[in-house]
């Protein structure tokens, strides 16, 4: 279990943190995720990659945690967390730092869009694996990422960054 934890805990933590946006909640979640893995090891049949299995469990637990805390307090915290992410896009552009503006806009995507962008770009999940983790059809995976990218382009445009697409 230590090996498994050592191998995957940072990715699980980062995935959880991007969903719940609170470090303490994300830390609590990873303990729960790996405890579930410990309890359910017999159910893992190796049909999917272990990281896919772990991310699916993490997603389920993160969304459950968000549902439990879906009240005004969390909304305020979430808003604060968004605003706390360094410079806003306008400031970033003023610094002529497109990369920084892009990261700020990525942080401002909706939860559904953040999740799919992270799974594809950072966690290197295939169309099939994302479909398995999120529980949506493969075609929806493709169109959701397309819309996430369009939203990202809109946010960048609002911030004055033109990238030639769309």
């Amino acid at each position: 279990m230590q090996v498994l934890y050592g191998r995957y805990h940072v990715r699980v933590y980062r995935f959880a943190l991007r969903l719940v946006r609170k470090e303490q909640v994300a830390e609590d979640l990873i303990s729960e995720v790996f405890l579930d893995v410990w309890r359910q090891a017999g159910k893992f049949e190796g049909r999917s990659a272990v990281s896919t299995w772990l991310l699916a469990i993490t997603r389920f637990k993160a969304l459950s945690a968000l549902r439990k805390k879906k009240d005004a307090e969390l909304d305020d915290e979430t808003a604060a967390a968004i605003e706390d992410t360094s410079d806003n896009p306008e400031v970033a552009v003023a610094k002529k730092d497109t990369g920084n503006a892009l990261r700020n806009c990525l942080a401002k995507l909706s939860q559904d869009h953040r999740e799919i962008v992270d799974l594809v770009y950072y966690h290197e999940k295939s169309v099939e694996e994302v479909a398995e983790i999120v529980g949506i059809p493969e075609n929806t995976v493709k169109t959701r990422l397309f819309y996430a990218r369009k939203k990202l382009a809109e946010l960048l445009k609002e911030a004055g960054v033109e990238r030639g697409w769309p």
Partner: protein
């Protein structure tokens, strides 16, 4: 028909696959199909470049999230200790499956040349715990390295870069790989001291200009 001619409200079949092409997670057949379309359609190729920037910044954003404290691990093992005793056959089943877990490579690594893929396997599996090339420049696993001085840069290599080219690159810049690949990027530590922001910027510009490098940006 180019991507410009298409209705942008819905992605075309090839266009929809571009993010996975950039991440290196398409099948060989799909990759071939997408690459053929990219070669023919400059607008699609431009969009692919935009996607590569998105991918690189998403990796940086996630890398900046840091890691959990040891509290999470302590909490996990306290919870496991509190669990009722389990059937030993279940535990051994888990151990057996762990072997299969670690057989799984990052999909991107499979697209690399054989030598580079082997390097990725060795790095990812954490088999080695000491520098394997030579002192001062070489490969280390993230787990083996205590935090030390040095300038850390997130580096992406061309998919067809060979082990020899990567070794020569690390020698030239006194670099050592400290972690990765993560989304096809490696964290490389350059030198033994932390550079000033201006010097680091100069170094990154040089690294970026190297023929086997596709991406370079400062990281923690």
């Amino acid at each position: 028909m180019t991507a410009n001619d298409k209705e942008l409200a819905e992605p075309g079949k090839i266009e929809a696959l571009l993010p996975w092409r950039a991440a290196g997670t398409l099948s060989a057949e799909e990759t071939k199909r997408v690459d053929a379309a990219l070669a023919k359609d400059p607008v699609l190729a431009k969009q692919h470049e935009v996607i590569q920037d998105e991918l690189a910044e998403t990796v940086l954003l996630n890398e900046d999230l840091g890691a959990p404290s040891t509290h999470a691990l302590e909490k996990l093992f306290a919870a496991i200790d509190a669990e009722p005793a389990r059937d030993p056959s279940r535990a051994s089943g888990l151990i057996a499956r762990l072997g299969a877990f670690f057989g799984g490579l990052s999909p991107r690594a499979l697209g690399w040349s054989a030598a580079a893929a082997l390097l990725a396997l060795v790095l990812q599996a954490g088999i080695i715990s000491t520098t394997v090339v030579k002192q001062g420049s070489g490969y280390q696993t993230a787990s083996s390295e205590a935090p030390t001085a040095g300038t850390r840069v997130l580096v992406g290599f061309k998919p067809d870069a060979t082990l020899n080219e990567i070794t020569a690159f690390l020698d030239t810049y006194h670099g050592s790989i400290v972690s990765g690949p993560s989304a096809s990027m490696f964290t490389v530590k350059f030198g033994d001291k932390t550079l000033t922001a201006a010097d680091a910027e100069q170094l990154i510009a040089k690294v970026k200009a190297d023929k086997i490098v596709t991406f370079a940006a400062a990281t923690q």
